[in-house]
């Protein structure tokens, strides 16, 4: 083999590889193509040759197929290097071809002699190795099978016998979905409706219908009897109508026959209505023969029934009589008076039976008052004023009571939810005051007063509860500050107060000395220095400054010391560093006389404040220690509460909880 032969060999293998891949892809895509063709045919069949839909489905499917083919081809492309690696893996040649190709190309790294060794080795092995099966064809038959099934199904569907069946299914489905009917169906529907109607008409009336007809017939008959002023023809019309209705209501009559009778009754009543519209339904002779009392009664009846035609005829008769009487002065007054009395009594009787005062009385009075003299007019006007007053007062009082009730109801509802709202309370007060003034609103006033009392009671209870909680029990309020140090300080204060410790204030502030000298090791010295600087002392004095440089030596115990936490300055500036070194527990005793916490400004320029706790035993020359248990009590609650607030993953919470349990003192 000559130079470039490795490359040529691999190229040859590449062609073989690509041919095999194309075969695989072709089979894969052919299956999909068959499936798509079947889909298009099915869509065409179902939509009845809808060109738009079919074209749309075809375009999308073909585009998708093309894209899929392109993706497959792209994924299967292999460079010469990648192919060399494949060949090496197949032939277990330990990347010999890969190296030889690189050497041939000139980008292999290593010794030239060794590179040529690799080349020669590759040449020797190439002739002996069989790469025929290094990239075998693997056909994916699933798409093929699916595609063939789809195509076969569609072909079957296109068969005539199956098509007719499908047509039937499709037509019925189409009809159901589109709600359209053929002309034959429409005719059939109408025919059915007619027959249904016809059948209904042959059936007898229901019992309810017959009873109603009977009722109407009775009403007409009673009307004919009661109306004494009707003309003969009017009475006959009424009677005939009643008779026709009775006929219709007979049991065995069909609906059709009943309708005939009802139509007859209707005609009679129409006739009567024509007469009544013209005012010809009343007998004038009978009218004229009526006495004054009877006339007044008839007027009252007509007015109560709202029979305008009759009332008009009666009013005309009355007017005629009055006109006639006015020519004879002697009887006019007596007659008018008797008429007015009779009318008044009749009206009263009618109103007792349920007629309303307003409007009707005015109307009746107005018809009489047209021809009255001064006395009658004053009497009329007196009656009028009384009527106005009654109706006005009633409506006003009703309105007032109703308004107040509504207001009260609203306020009560409001106060249920917001009992302490001042606006509502003011309103209640006003209501109760108004109610006191006017007796008619007493109920409202009483209710408002009761509600006010309840509100006051609730308010006082709330205040008592607030006071008792502020006094503070054993449980400190939950810390809402985001700063852990704030919470710790607050908790410490709380604990000190609850233990009843009253320490000295920083009387030794600004003085150095003892506390500082008690410091041990490096931090102790620094403590004394800063103590001289006028810091208040704690366990070892020296806030802020010295301890910052030796955080380790500040000591765990001093950090946890009752002096609390320094703020600002260096983060590791923990006060009380005078407790010394890592083992800052050098002969220190417990103290039980610590004061409440004080604040001292740090000596650092940018430092904040720090807490100081004065311990008496130190001033007496005693040694002091703070037990872990004391410290733990201070921080345990806060730390655990804060831990709960942190966003710790659920599956890690147990781990954190176990940690805290492990450091809990026995």
């Amino acid at each position: 083999m000559s130079s470039g032969e490795i490359k040529a060999f691999i190229r040859g293998q590449q062609r073989v590889y690509m041919r095999r891949r194309l075969l695989e892809h072709g089979a894969h895509l052919a299956g999909w193509a068959m499936g798509i063709a079947a889909l298009i045919a099915f869509v065409n069949l179902v939509t009845g040759g809808n060109l738009v839909l079919t074209t749309l489905v075809s375009s999308v499917s073909v585009a998708w197929l093309g894209f899929r083919g392109w993706r497959l081809h792209r994924a299967s492309r292999a460079s010469l290097d990648e192919l060399a690696v494949r060949l090496d893996r197949h032939g277990a040649t330990s990347n010999l071809l890969t190296t030889a190709l690189a050497v041939e190309r000139g980008d292999a790294h290593g010794d030239e002699e060794f590179a040529m060794l690799a080349m020669n080795q590759a040449r020797r092995q190439l002739t002996s190795l069989d790469f025929a099966h290094f990239a075998p064809v693997r056909l994916d038959i699933k798409p093929l099978v699916v595609g063939m099934v789809c195509a076969g199904t569609v072909l079957v569907l296109y068969n005539s016998s199956a098509n007719a069946y499908l047509d039937g299914i499709v037509n019925r489905a189409y009809a159901t979905t589109t709600r359209s009917t053929s002309p034959e169906d429409e005719q059939m529907k109408k025919k059915l409706a007619r027959e249904e109607e016809k059948a209904k008409k042959e059936q007898p009336l229901t019992k309810v219908a017959r009873e109603r007809l009977e009722q109407d017939a009775r009403a007409l008959e009673s009307l004919a009897k009661e109306e004494t002023l009707l003309t003969k023809s009017a009475k006959e019309s009424l009677e005939k109508a009643a008779k026709a209705l009775r006929e219709a209501a007979k049991e065995k009559k069909s609906a059709r026959e009943a309708l005939k009778h009802m139509a007859q009754a209707k005609r009679q009543l129409k006739e009567l209505k024509k007469q009544s519209d013209k005012g010809e339904h009343l007998d004038k002779e009978l009218l004229q023969k009526l006495g004054d009392k009877d006339l007044a009664e008839q007027i009252a009846k007509a007015e109560s029934r709202k029979d305008r035609q009759k009332l008009g005829a009666l009013a005309r008769e009355l007017a005629r009589r009055l006109e006639k009487d006015s020519a004879q002065d002697m009887n006019a007054k007596a007659q008018r008076e008797s008429l007015a009395k009779a009318l008044e009594e009749a009206i009263k009787n009618q109103s007792k039976k349920g007629a309303g005062q307003q409007g009707d009385s005015k109307q009746a009075q107005a018809s009489v008052g047209e021809q009255s003299d001064a006395k009658k007019s004053s009497e009329d006007s007196r009656l009028r004023r009384k009527s106005d007053r009654d109706s006005g007062d009633a409506s006003t009082s009703n309105a007032m009571t109703l308004d107040d009730s509504r207001q009260l109801a609203q306020l009560l509802r409001q106060n249920e939810s917001e009992p302490s709202e001042d606006g509502a309370r003011d309103k209640l007060e006003q209501l109760s005051r108004d109610g006191e003034q006017s007796g008619e609103r007493g109920e409202v006033s009483r209710t408002a007063q009761q509600k006010m009392q309840r509100i006051d009671e609730e308010k006082s209870e709330q205040m008592q509860r607030a006071r008792s909680s502020q006094k503070g029990g054993d449980t400190p309020p939950p810390c809402e500050s985001e700063d852990l140090e704030d919470c710790m300080v607050a908790s410490m204060d709380q604990q000190l107060r609850s233990r009843g410790k009253t320490g000295e204030q920083g009387g030794q502030q600004g003085k150095s000395g003892q506390g500082g000298k008690q410091g041990q090791g490096q931090s102790g010295k620094q403590g004394s220095q800063s103590g001289e600087g006028g810091q208040s002392e704690g366990q070892g004095g020296g806030q802020g400054q010295g301890e910052g440089t030796h955080p380790a030596s500040s000591g765990a115990s001093s950090k946890a010391a009752s002096n609390g936490i320094s703020r600002g300055g260096t983060p590791s500036a923990s006060p009380g560093g005078g407790a010394g070194g890592r083992d800052g527990k050098q002969g220190l005793s417990r103290d039980s006389s610590a004061s409440s916490t004080n604040w001292v400004k740090s000596q650092w320029k940018d430092g904040g404040r720090t807490i100081v706790r004065t311990i008496k035993s130190v001033s007496r020359g005693e040694r002091h220690t703070v037990g872990y248990k004391d410290v733990h009590e201070t921080y345990e609650e806060i730390a655990e509460e804060k831990t709960k607030q942190e966003a710790i993953p659920l599956k890690r919470r147990d781990f954190i909880r176990q940690y805290f349990e492990s450091i809990r003192p026995e």
Partner: protein, 330 residues
């Protein structure tokens, strides 16, 4: 290249393979039942790397190193690290000596580091300051004493051991320092047959003698041959992909790596892969590196270079699992 030259190179390769085979056999004659470990140590030696051995006491770690040194005719020294060991105890000191004539001079007394093969026993027991003295020597191949730089003679090979049992009061090497070791090898416990053999052969009268197999110069030559082994870019690419896959946010890293690895392997790992791969290829008698060589050395190179996060510790995920996931992904 002429045929003769080609033949010469082939002979060189074959001779190298034979020598290395003999070396391994000699060591295994004395250090029983740890053939794979011996082979890896030889690979590390050829790649001019330092090795960290981790295993419980009593597994013959010291024996392995001493036998290796004897077989290669190299100077061997053993440093037992203790908490009170000072850097000067390792590198040596300058002392003032008074001569017979009354004159005084400063004389340098080299420390145990001035050897070809150094066994740093229980390196995690020494303080970080002392550890750094050794690590500096490993990296720079020289030490500085009293301002004077003194080179360490080639070949310089450190085998450090860590005892995973007694971790109380120790200073485990930080991950950044572990990166300087080419391999971190776990010394496995011998099997039943091997134990039996160990017991029988080491408690009798007969003592096995280690014969030198090659000289220092031959070893240096072999180390030179390793660097001549050919690497194709495609093979280097595979090594690079493996290194990248140890980073959760790069390359084709598996899900496990994304979840449990805080920091992946550094570019030193890439150098180590290629060097060790070349050494593997030489051991196999090939003039070129294969992908299999890279995959073979990857676990020993990567296990101590991936820094696991807290989740991995809680879920007890081991570096071995992660390395296997990486190799499966690439």
């Amino acid at each position: 290249m002429s045929a003769e030259a080609q033949q010469v190179e082939e002979v060189v390769l074959q001779r190298a393979v034979k020598q290395l085979g003999d070396l391994a056999s000699m060591i295994e004659r004395v250090y029983l039942g740890q053939g794979e470990l011996v082979r890896k140590v030889i690979v590390g030696l050829l790649a001019q790397g330092n090795i960290l051995l981790e295993g419980p006491p009593g597994l013959g770690k010291t024996l392995l190193v001493s036998v290796l040194a004897q077989a290669l005719e190299l100077d061997f020294s053993r440093i037992q690290f203790t908490p009170d060991l000072m850097p000067a105890d390792i590198t040596g000191t300058t002392a003032l000596l008074r001569g017979e004539d009354g004159s005084s001079e400063l004389r340098f007394h080299p420390g145990p580091i001035f050897a070809h093969v150094v066994l740093a026993d229980e390196i995690n027991r020494a303080t970080p300051k002392t550890q750094s003295a050794l690590l500096e020597a490993m990296q720079e191949k020289h030490v500085t004493v009293s301002g004077e730089r003194r080179a360490l003679e080639a070949p310089f090979f450190v085998l450090a051991t860590q005892n995973p049992v007694e971790m109380e009061g120790t200073y485990p090497l930080p991950e950044a320092q572990l990166d300087r070791f080419l391999f971190k090898l776990n010394v496995p416990f011998p099997s039943l047959d091997v134990l039996k053999q160990i017991g029988l052969e080491t408690t009798g009268v007969e003592r096995k003698v280690v014969e030198p197999i090659m000289s220092r110069s031959e070893l240096l030559e072999l180390q030179g041959i390793v660097r001549r082994i050919v690497v194709a870019p495609k093979v280097a690419e595979i090594a690079a992909r493996i290194v990248l896959a140890t980073h959760g946010d790069k390359g084709e890293s598996p899900d496990m790596v994304r979840r449990f690895v805080q920091w992946g392997a550094s570019p030193r790992a890439m150098q180590a892969l290629l060097l060790a791969g070349r050494a593997e290829a030489l051991l196999a008698g090939r003039a070129w590196v294969s992908e299999d060589d890279i995959r073979k050395v990857a676990p020993d190179i990567l296990r101590h270079r991936m820094i696991l996060n807290f989740d991995a510790k809680l879920d007890e995920v081991t570096p071995e699992q992660l390395v296997q996931a990486v190799l499966a992904e690439v």
